[in-house]
Symmetry: C2
Subunit: 478 residues, 2 copies
């Protein structure tokens, strides 16, 4: 491909996220789905650009003038969100081309994910868009989120008013990475960008990976991938990015039966899992096993400022039983139990003899004090300062004098070593609020104890990947 063309392609992918105006093409009648919802949510999430509703009826929607055709809009438009029936295609794409639109999000369904006829229609619109270099996302997508400019294309009603902003960039091939499926106000992990490529008629994982790789608002990239279109390019693109920031991938379709289902739901042909597995290893991306892991493991990176030096983990617990389970999970995740220094053991032993171990179980030391919070503070400080400890996995109980999140948010201020925390409690809702408080203060909370250890293991794995890939790049440059 010609360099200038490559540049334009890339600029037009950027237009998807960063456009200063958007035409919303579709129904503007009040409904639970469609243009009306998109426009009201662009307003709700504070989209900074101009909004141009387009509908043959014209009129007004939510105080904004609607245009009967794209051509009627008295301004340059870079981005179109399209949610009409598939029957309006390909005409609508022709009109977008004529208007000089750089990028389109096709929310409409009825294309390659259905019958052959839909597949042909999809090919047709791509061909039209190619002529002017317009880039297309979808069809069959909920589209994009950009928390930097308030762009939210999701056509379903969102029951929250704010998307928690942060450094996690999300790519997905289905709507389950979208704001309608995730509690983005309540989770405590901040989002930079989200992109669901749907049928990926044009823009695919490689485009978005490259965009998020360059995006300064994104520190960690998580991807839900169902198939990879161009494996060689993927390995090359990911290899460049993992030298700078981690890429985590969930790739379902491990069995014949699931591969078949994949084909029917995205209109794509899935390859053999072992080929994907090898490609992901070669690309330096970290593969996870579930949707929950994908979402939560991102937090270990977004919440911890510094990568671990080695893989020596200290486990701090409130119940011996969880300590033992934690060791199993740690070893499985590629970690090893830190051998606490003589100095740390002396200090811990001075508080209570049973504490001088890893896992450090605070339970038996409880009788020495009624202030368990203070006990936690003392123990955490000693262990975080131990040169033999690279990262820490912490179990805490929410209740009994341990109801204050300050214990852990204060601790966060004191250490740059990676930490991961898991909570248990008699009161689930109290625990939920507690977790939220920790998360927004940079203490990553995990929903399963095994995930806390697994996430720390992923962070250690990434430290090795970064070393390897940054090194290779370095040698290769002049």
């Amino acid at each position: 491909m010609h360099k200038t063309q490559q540049r334009a392609d890339k600029d037009n992918v950027a237009a998807l996220f960063e456009s200063e105006n958007v035409a919303v093409i579709g129904s503007i009648k009040e409904s639970w789905f469609g243009g009306y919802v998109v426009i009201s949510q662009l307003k709700k999430f504070g989209y900074k650009g101009d909004i141009y509703p387009v509908n043959p009826a014209g009129g007004e929607v939510l105080g904004i003038k609607a245009y009967k055709t794209l051509a009627d809009i008295p301004a340059t438009v870079d981005l179109a969100m399209i949610m009409t029936s598939y029957k309006a295609f390909p005409k609508i794409i022709e009109e977008c081309s004529e208007k000089g639109i750089k990028a389109g999000i096709i929310i409409s369904d009825g294309f390659a994910e259905r019958a052959e006829k839909g597949s042909k229609l999809q090919q047709k619109i791509v061909k039209i868009a190619k002529k002017t270099g317009m880039r297309l996302i979808g069809p069959n997508t909920i589209g994009l989120v950009n928390t930097a400019n308030g762009l939210v294309s999701n056509p379903y009603v969102l029951e929250y008013d704010k998307i928690y902003k942060g450094s996690i960039g999300i790519f997905g091939q289905t709507g389950l990475v979208g704001p309608q499926a995730l509690p983005l106000e309540d989770t405590g992990y901040g989002i930079s960008k989200i992109c669901d490529v749907g049928n990926k008629c044009d823009v695919d994982e490689n485009d978005i990976l490259e965009y998020l790789g360059d995006d300064t608002d994104t520190d960690v990239i998580i991807m839900h991938i169902e198939d990879i279109k161009n494996g060689r390019l993927f390995i090359e693109t990911a290899g460049k990015i993992v030298a700078k920031k981690p890429v985590l991938i969930l790739k379902p379709g491990k069995t014949k039966e699931s591969a078949k289902a994949l084909a029917s739901h995205t209109g794509s042909l899935a390859g053999e899992d072992r080929i994907y597995d090898a490609a992901m290893k070669q690309a330096g991306v970290i593969r996870v096993n579930s949707h929950v892991e994908l979402m939560e493991y991102a937090k270990i990176f977004s919440h911890n400022p510094v990568l671990p030096l080695k893989n020596r983990v200290a486990i701090v617990t409130f119940t011996g039983g969880f300590g033992v389970m934690g060791i199993d999970a740690a070893v499985e995740a590629g970690l090893t139990l830190a051998d606490l220094s003589a100095e740390s053991r002396k200090k811990l032993s001075d508080i209570h003899p049973t504490l001088a171990n890893n896992p450090t179980d605070l339970g038996p030391a409880m009788p020495v004090t009624a202030d368990f919070g203070l006990l936690y503070r003392q123990v955490l400080d000693i262990i975080a300062n131990d040169p033999n400890v690279d990262c820490m996995a912490i179990v805490t109980y929410v209740g009994m004098g341990l109801g204050s999140a300050d214990i852990f948010t204060d601790f966060r201020e004191k250490t740059t070593k990676p930490i991961a925390i898991w909570l248990y409690s008699q009161k689930p809702k109290k625990m939920f609020d507690f977790a939220r408080e920790l998360d927004i203060s940079g203490v990553p909370v995990f929903s399963k104890w095994e995930h806390a250890l697994g996430a720390l293991g992923a962070m250690y794995k990434y430290s090795l990947i970064k070393e390897k890939f940054a090194g290779i790049r370095h040698k290769g440059s002049p």
Copy 2:
């Protein structure tokens, strides 16, 4: 062992759970731990027997007369809960023997889990108890729960007022199975009995397994086991029980490092994992991989009245992506995708053409109706009535017209086929309440989609185990 002695041993284990009176030996001063808490909680949870506080100071606690010594109590006492310092031992056990007490729960710590001295003290008290046949639980335990008579020995303050009653019997070797660690009011899985054996100086997994096996209030037994004392007896006992009811086990300590930690925390020596693994298979128990799985898999049995005929699962989802992930999890759990009957496919297709698949994805059919609840009801009914379907895994969204739990609780009334459900939502707390409503109506909700499939797989596995073990027993009897 002599038959009469066996009988008495067993009766005294029963006395632990079913005693009509209890002496609570320890501090009766108001505190966050100890005798005061136990007495107040026996009252709170409605313990049906007589309570006799015992403390050298005498006096009164919470309106109940305290006795200076056990001997002073003017009645027969069957059960003692002891939470004095370890320094009060072995004298206290001698006094219990003299009083004719059948069973004791030793909550006190400072025994085998500490130094050699503690180990000797532990041996001493067992020797004393043996003379009169008194059975001992502990030391270093939070003891028992029996929801049938309100017995709760847990010495820590419980922040809830009710333990949700049901058919799950829990055994554990640490406090993490206890009511202080679990949200037993809010989980929606009902408890029959809980037993934490702590250091298991006397009563062990075999005693409790046998007791729960005979207990008519218990339909499913879950065990957190750190070591097995008598493997041959365990295999024999479990083998008898799994012919009647399922037994699920979490056995940590898979690595050398965790086995070492086990030894220090329970004062027991852990064996090699592969030996345990083989023993569990031989015993017909189902091994799970995490604490969450242990607790949640119990629900698949307590909530579903009938075992599946075969392993053919139908997956109903609201997002195609989760359908694919569900297949991976199903295959991993030993299930296979049901091949829907022509009749079902016809009926589904009549609603919307894309529905006639397994997984059945309701997402693309959404445009046909604004009443997604009705759509779910129709689809669930068709699939549940399909003779090719043995069990169902369901994903639902909480929101957008799917906010009513009735859809699923009504469905529960209509089918005896095993079902498992997983929820996602924009609003975590709303989802929590929704889950609770489903759970108490017999629709088991799982915290991870993979766990929903894993639990259905465990139920199918148990159907094979039951067949095998009940068969063997059958052939063996006259």
